[in-house]
Structures are given as structure tokens and as C-alpha cells.
Symmetry: C2
Subunit: 330 residues, 2 copies
């Protein structure tokens, strides 16, 4: 979440150093989750994401229950983006001594509540003391060979789709940081995002998507990961971005264009996926009918050499922004 | 590692709040690892343990490679203590910005090196920035129904056995903190402990042990966990404690009895296990023959009402020390 390009380069260097994995490891480091083949049709998913106080949240803005819920939700989002169902998790906490015991218990209440919501069983964990609060979740999930969706399958000509609305969580954070305004739905998108698990499972079962990722760092950066893994380029249209209601207002307050929040704001936990053109209508209507969630076509996959571009409303073409901004530093 | 009684009470409160797990979860929170039944004879183990700078190590005393190696080793030790083999892991780092990139890469080198040693595949991870260094490892492993060893099977009359020597890691830490002396084998036990994986697998295959735990917090505290889970008491004999060579010297330097380091020092990563009396000779000689590791009988399991006691060399009986001391605060 909220990583900068230099961090990605650093992580890529680390991943490149890792020893080659065996045949049982279908996907190693570098996708939303690792994938292990347990048997012909049983694939184990494993992912980890941490919330660090002062980096991913301020404890003055989040209640402890919300920190717990969000820590689970961001991991569910990663499992969902693989076409999987979350199953088990472990919780590793670093709890500063200055927080009272009640804080940790409320945090855990949020973790338990969110796990119940997705039928995830907590099978263990660890607590250490430390100077700053870290909520680190390890999430396991399951999928099948047929339903697994990687970042690497996008083909030139595929359409790029996103669920729901963009920019809301980033706008919500701005409202929390500048409490002159209050737009409830934006603030709750920031505090307690809902991972798109149901939508992901419908997409996985349809077997129509060629690639998928969850939008944690901003669409601009996350579609970039699909481009990296699939060896393709992409064109996104500003006018097609499903910008959440109220986002425009907040963008104005920040003296930014709404598309900046929509593309770079991050933490939307919407799904971005690619689909051959002929299946776009089918997948869009299936999701709408079964769940009620809007899906928007925001662009299309290009050959790699065409690069990654954004077509503004005025027809101007600019490079697709590829960095989320660091929310708590700006 | 190095937890105090108040922390255990706190963790127990949290565990008690967890929703009941399903039938597929053979062991949930509260053992060395969680156990999930994947199929009739395929049990998945999952554990997590973190090293926090300033709590579990000082970066002035540990090279980054050693931090990485130890972070893996302590998790391997947990999997081993279940009678399992480690298979896959994920690495979640919180890296302070003040550490240069090279530090993180060396840390990762240590993680990779230790994983290779045990044939563990790294399948993913996460990196966050933060104020203090946290190396959090999530380790998966496998075992079978027959070979799994829990904390809960100890019976009154069983003998209590430990592999190797006790107190060495704690003595090594004292030498690192007070660099007037240097005893290499003690220091390396602190910096790069070797989990007793081979020994654990021999014990698991023998199917003779009724319970097992790895000694991370000190024998006094860790045998206490077996007593809690098994509903039994225990008697440990000072004269039978396999106190490592050089430990006596360091204990003298600290104005402590050697048994204090052996029972409360922690971080030995030796195995403590219980065995019916008639199998003690067999299991001891099998381990000695196959691996060369010494095993000592240090006491016996009592009925619960007999409590947890230590018999000193002079015949005096005292309560078994049940707290590791906080290494970096004493």
C-alpha cells in the first residue's frame, strides 16, 4: 500500500535474488499472493500485508477496531484478486507499551469481526512489544487451477475494467486530515474498506478474465503491475474513470484534478481486471445482476511498445501516473 | 521469545476471545503452530514469529545477515516442535528509512541462506517503512496425523527430556553485551541458533513422545506451557540440567546461579519433550546414533496438584521459575 517507485525497484531487486522455487510453487513472490499446488485441483494461496502506525494510518484518526478490520480487509483483497477465497489467518502484532491493554483487545475485536465476515479462521499469531504499532496479517486462501487469475495474462486488445468507484478512500483520508468537511461514505471507505471478494469470485467462476489485481496503490500503479507481468502496454481514458461522488469536491479542496485522486490515491481496494472485448458485456452484466456492483470499462491493453498512457478529456495524451503518493507525508 | 507472565496472561485473554474454529483446524492459536487438516494424511502447519529491533536484538550486536538467519531459525524451531518439516515462508519487513538499502539486502541474504539450509521456499512477502526494524516471518510446514506432537499429551509419570545444552544463548548474549570476554560457541548460539529440526523429525517418526515444545523462553516457562496444555505438574532436577560449557563462568560474572540461565535464559531453541519411562533409553540412543545429539532426562511429569517444582542440588525444593527475563532490559 502506498509504495513509491523506488520501493518497487528495491523489492524487485530482492525478488530477483530469491532462489528459483520448485514445481509445486505455481506463483512465488511478485503477485498478490503466492500459490502452492497441493493437489491436482487444490491450490493454496498465501499473502501478507502490514499496517504500520504513522505510515499506513494514524492512531489519532482510526479507532483500534478500525485498524483491526482494515488490516484483515487488505489481505482479503489480495486473496480475492487471485480468484481465491480466504480461509485461515495468523495475526502478528507489535504493540508499543504506551498503548494500554484495552487498545490491543479492541484492535483484536476488529480483527475477529472482519474475519467472521468472510468466514476466516484465526489459527495463531504472535505479540511482541516495540516502539510503534504494527499489525501484520498472514492470510491463507484457496482456489483451483481453473479459477486462479494472475497478473500475467493480459493481452493487447483486452479491455481494462474496474469495479465500483475510484478515489474515494484517498478523498476520505483528506477529510480525516482536514476535518472541516465530513462526507461519511468517503471517510468509511478510508477507515473500513470492503474488499471485493464476492465480485472476485464471480469473475473467477466466469473464467473470462485474463488478469486481475486489487487496487491498493492507485489504478495507475496497479495496472502498471499487470503491464509488467503481462509484458503489455495500456491506455486509460480520463472520461471513463468511475470517480466516486464527493471526490471532485475534495480534489478541488486539494487543488488537484479528480483523476489524480482516482489514479494515484490508492486504498480503493476495488478490482482491476482485463477481459477480451467480446466478453465485456457478459461479465459486466453478471456482476451487476448477481451482486449489484457497477463495473466500468476504463481503457484497453496495448502492445508493450505503445507504452502506458492516459487520454485526458481534452484529448491530450500524457504518461499514465505510476506512483501513489505517500498519504501521510503529503 | 522472552515474554513475561503478564504478556502470556494477555495473550491467553485474546485467545479465549477467538471464535471456535471448525473441524478442519486440528490446532488453533496456543501451540507452537496452527494445524490444518488438508486431507486424511496431509496436515498443514502455520506459525509466525517476529524479531523486533531493541526487543529481540540490538542491531549494534547482530550483523544484518545474522538477524535474517535467526528470524528464519526461530520459526523453523516452532515447526520442528510440532513434529513437522518447514516447507514455505513469507517475509514481512518493516524497514526504517535510516537503514540503507544495503542493510535490507544483507538481511534478506541471511533469510535466503537459512531457508536454503532447510529447503524452505520463499513464496512472497511485504516491505513497509517504519521507525523500527521488524522482521516478521510466516512459516508453513507439513506433518502427518501420526507424527504430529502437541503440547497437550504429557502424562504423569512421563520423563522430561531436553536436547543439547541449556543457558548457552543467554550466556552468549551477556558476552555480547559485556565484551570483556569472548566464548565463540556461546556467542554463535545467541546470534545464529540452530533449530533442532533433524532431532524433532527423529522424535516424530519414533512416535514415542507424548508432548513437545521448543525452548524459546527458557525451560522453566516452556515446560510450564506443556503443563498448562496437558493439565499436569512437573518436577525438574537442578543436577540433571545439561548446562552448556562456559555458562557457569558467565553466570558467575552476572552473580547468578548457572541454573538461572539454564531455566530462564531462553533462546536455546532446544527441544523439550516428554516420553513414557520405558521408552527413554530407546529415544535417547536413537537420537544419539542417528544425529549425535545428546539428550538429557531433566525431570518428570507429576499430577497437576503436585505443582511445578525445582529440586536444587542441596535437596531444597523451590517453585520452578516460570519467567524468562527480558534480555535487553536486565
Amino acid at each position: 500500500m502506498g509504495k513509491k517507485q523506488s520501493e518497487f525497484a528495491y523489492i524487485k531487486n530482492l525478488i530477483d535474488k530469491l532462489p528459483r522455487t520448485g514445481k509445486d510453487v505455481i506463483v512465488g513472490a511478485g503477485d498478490d499472493a503466492g500459490v502452492i499446488k497441493l493437489s491436482e485441483d487444490q491450490y493454496l494461496l498465501a499473502t501478507t500485508d502490514a499496517l504500520v502506525e504513522g505510515v499506513h494510518f494514524k492512531s489519532t484518526l482510526f479507532r483500534p477496531e478500525e485498524v483491526g478490520r482494515k488490516a484483515v480487509a487488505v489481505n482479503v483483497s489480495d486473496i480475492a484478486a487471485m480468484g481465491g477465497k480466504p480461509t485461515y489467518c495468523m495475526v502478528s502484532l507489535v504493540l508499543p507499551k504506551i498503548l494500554d491493554e484495552a487498545y490491543g483487545i479492541k484492535l483484536y475485536d476488529g480483527i475477529i469481526e472482519e474475519c467472521k465476515r468472510y468466514n476466516i479462521q484465526i489459527i495463531g499469531g504472535n505479540i511482541s512489544s516495540g516502539q510503534e504499532l504494527v499489525v501484520d496479517i498472514f492470510m491463507l486462501g484457496k482456489t483451483t487451477q481453473d479459477q486462479m487469475i494472475l497478473r500475467s495474462g493480459a493481452k493487447a486488445g483486452n479491455k481494462v475494467l474496474v469495479t465500483g468507484f475510484l478515489g474515494e478512500a484517498a478523498a476520505g483520508l483528506q477529510l480525516l486530515l482536514n476535518p472541516k468537511f465530513n462526507i461519511d461514505n468517503l471517510i468509511s471507505k478510508q477507515l473500513t474498506p470492503t474488499p471485493r471478494l464476492k465480485e472476485a469470485l464471480v469473475i473467477a467462476k466466469s473464467r473470462l478474465a485474463t488478469s486481475m489485481i486489487d487496487i491498493s496503490d492507485g489504478l495507475g500503479q496497479d495496472i502498471g503491475h499487470i503491464c509488467d507481468s503481462s509484458g503489455v502496454g495500456v491506455k486509460i481514458y480520463e472520461e471513463r474513470l468511475p470517480i466516486g461522488s464527493g471526490v471532485e469536491e475534495v480534489a478541488g479542496m486539494m487543488d488537484k484534478d479528480p483523476w489524480e485522486l482516482a489514479l494515484s490515491g490508492g486504498e480503493d481496494y476495488e478490482l482491476c481486471f482485463t477481459v477480451p472485448e467480446k466478453y465485456v458485456e457478459k461479465i459486466t452484466s453478471v456482476i451487476k445482476e448477481q451482486i449489484g456492483t457497477q463495473v466500468s470499462v476504463v481503457g484497453e491493453i496495448l502492445p508493450k511498445e505503445a507504452g502506458r498512457i492516459l487520454v485526458l478529456k481534452n484529448g491530450e495524451i500524457i504518461p499514465l501516473p505510476n506512483s501513489g503518493w505517500d498519504h501521510l507525508e503529503n
